[in-house]
Protein backbone atom coordinates (compact mmCIF):
# COMPACT_ATOMS: atom_id res chain seq x y z
CA UNK A 1 0.00 0.00 0.00
CA UNK A 2 2.79 2.38 -0.80
CA UNK A 3 2.64 5.54 -2.91
CA UNK A 4 -0.78 6.41 -1.59
CA UNK A 5 -1.31 10.09 -2.30
CA UNK A 6 -4.49 12.08 -2.02
CA UNK A 7 -5.22 14.51 -4.88
CA UNK A 8 -4.12 17.40 -2.64
CA UNK A 9 -0.80 15.73 -1.93
CA UNK A 10 -0.23 15.17 -5.60
CA UNK A 11 -0.95 18.81 -6.34
CA UNK A 12 1.46 19.94 -3.63
CA UNK A 13 4.11 17.60 -4.92
CA UNK A 14 3.86 18.74 -8.50
CA UNK A 15 5.73 22.01 -8.06
CA UNK A 16 8.83 20.35 -6.66
CA UNK A 17 9.47 18.69 -9.99
CA UNK A 18 9.29 21.96 -11.88
CA UNK A 19 12.02 24.36 -10.84
CA UNK A 20 12.93 26.75 -13.65
CA UNK A 21 16.58 27.13 -14.59
CA UNK A 22 18.75 30.09 -13.59
CA UNK A 23 18.73 31.21 -17.22
CA UNK A 24 14.96 31.38 -17.12
CA UNK A 25 15.10 33.58 -14.01
CA UNK A 26 17.63 35.83 -15.76
CA UNK A 27 15.26 36.21 -18.71
CA UNK A 28 12.38 37.12 -16.38
CA UNK A 29 14.58 39.67 -14.59
CA UNK A 30 15.59 41.13 -17.97
CA UNK A 31 11.95 41.56 -18.97
CA UNK A 32 11.17 43.16 -15.59
CA UNK A 33 14.10 45.55 -16.01
CA UNK A 34 12.89 46.46 -19.50
CA UNK A 35 9.37 47.19 -18.20
CA UNK A 36 10.82 49.28 -15.37
CA UNK A 37 12.89 51.24 -17.89
CA UNK A 38 9.70 51.88 -19.90
CA UNK A 39 7.97 53.10 -16.75
CA UNK A 40 10.80 55.48 -15.95
CA UNK A 41 10.83 56.71 -19.56
CA UNK A 42 7.27 57.97 -19.16
CA UNK A 43 8.56 60.52 -16.66
CA UNK A 44 10.68 62.16 -19.34
CA UNK A 45 7.98 62.26 -22.01
CA UNK A 46 4.94 63.09 -19.95
CA UNK A 47 4.62 66.62 -21.30
CA UNK A 48 4.25 65.21 -24.82
CA UNK A 49 1.63 62.51 -24.27
CA UNK A 50 -1.92 62.60 -22.90
CA UNK A 51 -2.35 61.98 -19.20
CA UNK A 52 -4.86 59.16 -19.73
CA UNK A 53 -2.29 57.31 -21.85
CA UNK A 54 0.36 57.62 -19.14
CA UNK A 55 -2.06 56.44 -16.48
CA UNK A 56 -3.18 53.46 -18.56
CA UNK A 57 0.31 52.38 -19.64
CA UNK A 58 1.82 52.77 -16.16
CA UNK A 59 -1.02 50.78 -14.60
CA UNK A 60 -0.65 48.02 -17.20
CA UNK A 61 3.13 47.80 -16.70
CA UNK A 62 2.72 47.78 -12.91
CA UNK A 63 0.21 44.90 -13.04
CA UNK A 64 2.35 42.89 -15.48
CA UNK A 65 5.44 43.30 -13.28
CA UNK A 66 3.47 42.38 -10.15
CA UNK A 67 2.09 39.21 -11.77
CA UNK A 68 5.48 38.20 -13.19
CA UNK A 69 7.25 38.44 -9.83
CA UNK A 70 4.43 36.61 -8.04
CA UNK A 71 4.13 33.89 -10.70
CA UNK A 72 7.80 33.16 -11.40
CA UNK A 73 9.97 34.44 -8.55
CA UNK A 74 7.42 33.50 -5.86
CA UNK A 75 6.62 30.26 -7.73
CA UNK A 76 2.86 30.75 -7.63
CA UNK A 77 2.69 29.42 -11.18
CA UNK A 78 4.25 26.11 -10.13
CA UNK A 79 3.12 25.76 -6.51
CA UNK A 80 -0.08 24.29 -5.23
CA UNK A 81 -3.08 26.50 -6.13
CA UNK A 82 -3.94 26.86 -2.45
CA UNK A 83 -1.16 29.45 -2.03
CA UNK A 84 -2.51 31.36 -5.02
CA UNK A 85 -6.00 31.35 -3.49
CA UNK A 86 -4.66 32.67 -0.18
CA UNK A 87 -2.72 35.49 -1.80
CA UNK A 88 -5.51 36.45 -4.20
CA UNK A 89 -7.98 36.37 -1.29
CA UNK A 90 -5.82 38.94 0.50
CA UNK A 91 -5.56 41.09 -2.62
CA UNK A 92 -9.27 40.96 -3.42
CA UNK A 93 -10.21 41.66 0.20
CA UNK A 94 -7.83 44.64 0.30
CA UNK A 95 -9.14 46.05 -2.99
CA UNK A 96 -12.75 45.58 -1.89
CA UNK A 97 -12.26 47.13 1.54
CA UNK A 98 -10.39 50.15 0.19
CA UNK A 99 -12.79 50.63 -2.72
CA UNK A 100 -15.53 50.98 -0.09
CA UNK A 101 -13.18 53.23 1.90
CA UNK A 102 -12.76 55.57 -1.09
CA UNK A 103 -16.46 55.47 -1.88
CA UNK A 104 -17.31 56.39 1.72
CA UNK A 105 -14.89 59.32 1.74
CA UNK A 106 -16.30 60.50 -1.58
CA UNK A 107 -19.88 60.03 -0.41
CA UNK A 108 -19.44 61.95 2.81
CA UNK A 109 -17.12 64.57 1.36
CA UNK A 110 -14.20 63.64 3.57
CA UNK A 111 -10.53 63.54 2.72
Amino acid sequence: MTNTHTPVETAADAHDDHHPSDLFYLKIAGILALFTALEVATYFIEDDVPEWFLFFSLTALMIIKFVMVAAYFMHLKYDTPWFRYLFIAGLVLAMGVYAIFFFSFDLFGLG
Partner: protein, 230 residues
Protein backbone atom coordinates in the same frame (compact mmCIF):
# COMPACT_ATOMS: atom_id res chain seq x y z
CA UNK B 1 -4.95 -3.46 7.91
CA UNK B 2 -5.00 -1.17 10.95
CA UNK B 3 -5.16 2.62 10.67
CA UNK B 4 -1.68 2.97 12.19
CA UNK B 5 -0.22 0.67 9.56
CA UNK B 6 -1.92 2.57 6.80
CA UNK B 7 -0.43 5.83 8.07
CA UNK B 8 3.05 4.39 8.19
CA UNK B 9 2.63 3.31 4.61
CA UNK B 10 1.57 6.75 3.44
CA UNK B 11 3.84 9.08 5.39
CA UNK B 12 7.22 8.03 3.93
CA UNK B 13 6.08 9.17 0.47
CA UNK B 14 4.78 12.43 1.79
CA UNK B 15 6.19 15.48 0.00
CA UNK B 16 6.86 17.48 3.15
CA UNK B 17 8.65 14.56 4.72
CA UNK B 18 10.59 13.72 1.62
CA UNK B 19 11.91 17.24 1.15
CA UNK B 20 12.52 18.40 4.68
CA UNK B 21 12.72 15.29 6.79
CA UNK B 22 9.98 16.74 8.95
CA UNK B 23 6.50 15.60 9.81
CA UNK B 24 3.99 15.40 6.98
CA UNK B 25 0.77 17.35 7.02
CA UNK B 26 -2.76 16.12 6.50
CA UNK B 27 -3.19 18.39 3.47
CA UNK B 28 0.15 17.53 1.90
CA UNK B 29 0.96 21.24 1.88
CA UNK B 30 3.82 22.58 3.95
CA UNK B 31 2.39 24.33 7.02
CA UNK B 32 5.28 26.80 7.07
CA UNK B 33 4.68 27.91 3.50
CA UNK B 34 0.94 28.00 4.06
CA UNK B 35 1.47 30.26 7.06
CA UNK B 36 3.77 32.55 5.10
CA UNK B 37 1.25 32.89 2.28
CA UNK B 38 -1.53 33.62 4.79
CA UNK B 39 0.74 36.25 6.33
CA UNK B 40 1.47 37.78 2.92
CA UNK B 41 -2.26 37.84 2.18
CA UNK B 42 -2.80 39.81 5.40
CA UNK B 43 0.08 42.13 4.46
CA UNK B 44 -1.91 43.06 1.34
CA UNK B 45 -4.45 44.64 3.67
CA UNK B 46 -1.76 46.57 5.56
CA UNK B 47 -0.17 48.03 2.44
CA UNK B 48 -3.59 48.47 0.85
CA UNK B 49 -4.51 50.72 3.78
CA UNK B 50 -1.30 52.73 3.51
CA UNK B 51 -1.51 53.15 -0.29
CA UNK B 52 -5.19 54.10 -0.09
CA UNK B 53 -4.44 56.70 2.59
CA UNK B 54 -1.67 58.14 0.44
CA UNK B 55 -3.97 58.32 -2.61
CA UNK B 56 -6.61 60.03 -0.49
CA UNK B 57 -4.25 62.73 0.72
CA UNK B 58 -1.80 63.14 -2.14
CA UNK B 59 -3.64 66.24 -3.35
CA UNK B 60 -2.97 67.87 0.02
CA UNK B 61 0.69 68.45 -0.79
CA UNK B 62 0.13 72.18 -0.79
CA UNK B 63 -1.26 72.37 2.72
CA UNK B 64 1.22 74.51 4.61
CA UNK B 65 3.25 74.72 1.38
CA UNK B 66 4.85 77.90 2.70
CA UNK B 67 6.93 75.69 4.99
CA UNK B 68 8.45 73.92 1.98
CA UNK B 69 11.70 75.78 1.40
CA UNK B 70 11.91 75.71 -2.44
CA UNK B 71 8.41 77.07 -2.81
CA UNK B 72 8.52 80.02 -0.46
CA UNK B 73 8.87 82.73 -3.05
CA UNK B 74 6.51 81.91 -5.87
CA UNK B 75 3.83 80.14 -3.83
CA UNK B 76 2.59 78.39 -6.96
CA UNK B 77 0.32 75.40 -6.82
CA UNK B 78 2.89 72.65 -7.14
CA UNK B 79 3.09 68.92 -6.53
CA UNK B 80 5.88 66.81 -5.07
CA UNK B 81 7.46 66.18 -8.48
CA UNK B 82 7.50 69.64 -10.02
CA UNK B 83 7.63 73.31 -9.13
CA UNK B 84 9.89 75.37 -6.96
CA UNK B 85 12.69 77.65 -8.04
CA UNK B 86 14.67 74.97 -9.82
CA UNK B 87 11.63 73.18 -11.22
CA UNK B 88 12.80 69.90 -9.74
CA UNK B 89 10.22 69.55 -6.99
CA UNK B 90 10.75 67.33 -3.97
CA UNK B 91 10.83 63.89 -5.60
CA UNK B 92 13.99 62.88 -7.41
CA UNK B 93 12.64 60.40 -9.97
CA UNK B 94 15.99 59.36 -11.54
CA UNK B 95 17.42 58.58 -8.09
CA UNK B 96 14.36 56.59 -7.01
CA UNK B 97 14.42 54.75 -10.36
CA UNK B 98 17.94 53.51 -9.62
CA UNK B 99 16.74 52.33 -6.19
CA UNK B 100 13.91 50.46 -7.92
CA UNK B 101 16.33 48.68 -10.26
CA UNK B 102 18.45 47.71 -7.25
CA UNK B 103 15.49 46.20 -5.38
CA UNK B 104 14.35 44.43 -8.54
CA UNK B 105 17.87 43.01 -8.95
CA UNK B 106 17.77 41.73 -5.38
CA UNK B 107 14.74 39.59 -6.27
CA UNK B 108 16.81 37.93 -8.98
CA UNK B 109 19.71 37.22 -6.61
CA UNK B 110 17.23 35.87 -4.03
CA UNK B 111 15.78 33.36 -6.45
CA UNK B 112 19.30 32.38 -7.55
CA UNK B 113 20.20 31.77 -3.89
CA UNK B 114 17.22 29.42 -3.58
CA UNK B 115 18.20 27.58 -6.77
CA UNK B 116 21.76 27.22 -5.51
CA UNK B 117 20.85 25.71 -2.14
CA UNK B 118 18.39 23.31 -3.79
CA UNK B 119 21.22 22.03 -5.96
CA UNK B 120 23.56 21.86 -2.99
CA UNK B 121 25.83 24.59 -4.40
CA UNK B 122 26.53 26.12 -1.03
CA UNK B 123 29.20 28.59 -2.10
CA UNK B 124 26.84 30.10 -4.66
CA UNK B 125 24.08 30.14 -2.07
CA UNK B 126 26.25 32.17 0.30
CA UNK B 127 27.27 34.58 -2.46
CA UNK B 128 23.71 35.19 -3.68
CA UNK B 129 22.31 35.50 -0.15
CA UNK B 130 24.88 38.09 0.85
CA UNK B 131 24.41 39.90 -2.49
CA UNK B 132 20.66 40.08 -1.86
CA UNK B 133 21.23 41.47 1.63
CA UNK B 134 23.76 43.97 0.25
CA UNK B 135 21.36 45.17 -2.48
CA UNK B 136 18.63 45.54 0.13
CA UNK B 137 21.00 47.58 2.28
CA UNK B 138 21.83 49.85 -0.66
CA UNK B 139 18.10 50.38 -1.20
CA UNK B 140 17.63 51.31 2.47
CA UNK B 141 20.64 53.64 2.36
CA UNK B 142 19.07 55.32 -0.68
CA UNK B 143 15.79 55.70 1.15
CA UNK B 144 17.49 57.28 4.16
CA UNK B 145 19.29 59.70 1.83
CA UNK B 146 16.01 60.47 0.05
CA UNK B 147 14.19 61.13 3.32
CA UNK B 148 17.00 63.43 4.46
CA UNK B 149 16.74 65.38 1.21
CA UNK B 150 12.98 65.74 1.62
CA UNK B 151 13.35 67.07 5.14
CA UNK B 152 15.99 69.55 3.95
CA UNK B 153 13.57 70.73 1.27
CA UNK B 154 10.96 71.27 3.96
CA UNK B 155 8.83 68.15 3.68
CA UNK B 156 8.87 66.41 7.05
CA UNK B 157 6.61 63.81 8.62
CA UNK B 158 4.44 66.43 10.29
CA UNK B 159 4.70 69.18 7.65
CA UNK B 160 1.29 68.32 6.24
CA UNK B 161 -1.03 65.37 5.76
CA UNK B 162 0.68 64.50 2.48
CA UNK B 163 4.01 64.20 4.30
CA UNK B 164 2.50 61.98 6.99
CA UNK B 165 0.88 59.66 4.43
CA UNK B 166 4.01 59.54 2.25
CA UNK B 167 6.50 58.85 5.05
CA UNK B 168 4.21 56.28 6.69
CA UNK B 169 3.81 54.33 3.45
CA UNK B 170 7.44 54.41 2.31
CA UNK B 171 8.72 54.10 5.89
CA UNK B 172 6.68 50.95 6.52
CA UNK B 173 8.05 49.50 3.31
CA UNK B 174 11.58 50.39 4.41
CA UNK B 175 11.02 48.61 7.73
CA UNK B 176 9.88 45.52 5.82
CA UNK B 177 13.04 45.61 3.67
CA UNK B 178 15.15 45.97 6.83
CA UNK B 179 13.44 42.96 8.41
CA UNK B 180 14.08 41.04 5.20
CA UNK B 181 17.79 41.86 5.44
CA UNK B 182 17.82 40.53 9.01
CA UNK B 183 16.11 37.32 7.83
CA UNK B 184 18.65 36.92 5.01
CA UNK B 185 21.58 37.37 7.37
CA UNK B 186 19.97 34.88 9.79
CA UNK B 187 19.75 32.26 7.01
CA UNK B 188 23.38 32.94 6.14
CA UNK B 189 24.46 32.45 9.75
CA UNK B 190 22.33 29.31 10.11
CA UNK B 191 24.00 27.92 7.01
CA UNK B 192 27.46 28.74 8.33
CA UNK B 193 26.56 26.93 11.55
CA UNK B 194 25.58 23.86 9.55
CA UNK B 195 21.89 24.12 10.41
CA UNK B 196 20.73 24.95 6.88
CA UNK B 197 21.45 22.82 3.84
CA UNK B 198 19.65 21.57 0.74
CA UNK B 199 17.33 19.42 2.88
CA UNK B 200 16.06 22.60 4.51
CA UNK B 201 15.75 24.62 1.31
CA UNK B 202 12.16 25.42 2.20
CA UNK B 203 13.41 27.80 4.90
CA UNK B 204 15.22 29.79 2.23
CA UNK B 205 12.13 29.64 0.02
CA UNK B 206 10.01 31.15 2.81
CA UNK B 207 12.50 33.97 3.39
CA UNK B 208 12.49 34.44 -0.39
CA UNK B 209 8.69 34.72 -0.47
CA UNK B 210 8.87 37.55 2.05
CA UNK B 211 11.62 39.25 0.07
CA UNK B 212 9.75 39.02 -3.23
CA UNK B 213 6.62 40.34 -1.56
CA UNK B 214 8.56 43.40 -0.44
CA UNK B 215 9.63 43.78 -4.07
CA UNK B 216 6.08 43.56 -5.46
CA UNK B 217 4.91 46.13 -2.92
CA UNK B 218 7.64 48.46 -4.14
CA UNK B 219 6.47 47.90 -7.74
CA UNK B 220 3.10 49.34 -6.65
CA UNK B 221 4.57 52.17 -4.55
CA UNK B 222 7.04 53.25 -7.23
CA UNK B 223 4.30 53.56 -9.84
CA UNK B 224 1.53 54.99 -7.69
CA UNK B 225 3.58 57.42 -5.59
CA UNK B 226 6.41 58.46 -7.88
CA UNK B 227 5.38 57.91 -11.51
CA UNK B 228 1.66 58.54 -11.83
CA UNK B 229 1.06 61.98 -13.37
CA UNK B 230 0.29 64.63 -10.77
Amino acid sequence: MSEATMESDVVPDHPALAEDGEHGTTTGISNNKLMMWAFLGSECLLFGALISTYLLYKERFNDFAETLAPFEEDGRNIGPRFGGEDGEGVFDIPFTSISSFILLGSSLTMVLALSAIRRGEYRNFRIWTLTTAALGSVFIAGQIYEFTEFVEKGLGYSTNIFGSAFFTLTGFHGVHVSLGIVMLLATYIMHKQGRLNSDKAETVEIVGLYWHFVDVVWILIFTVVYLFPQ
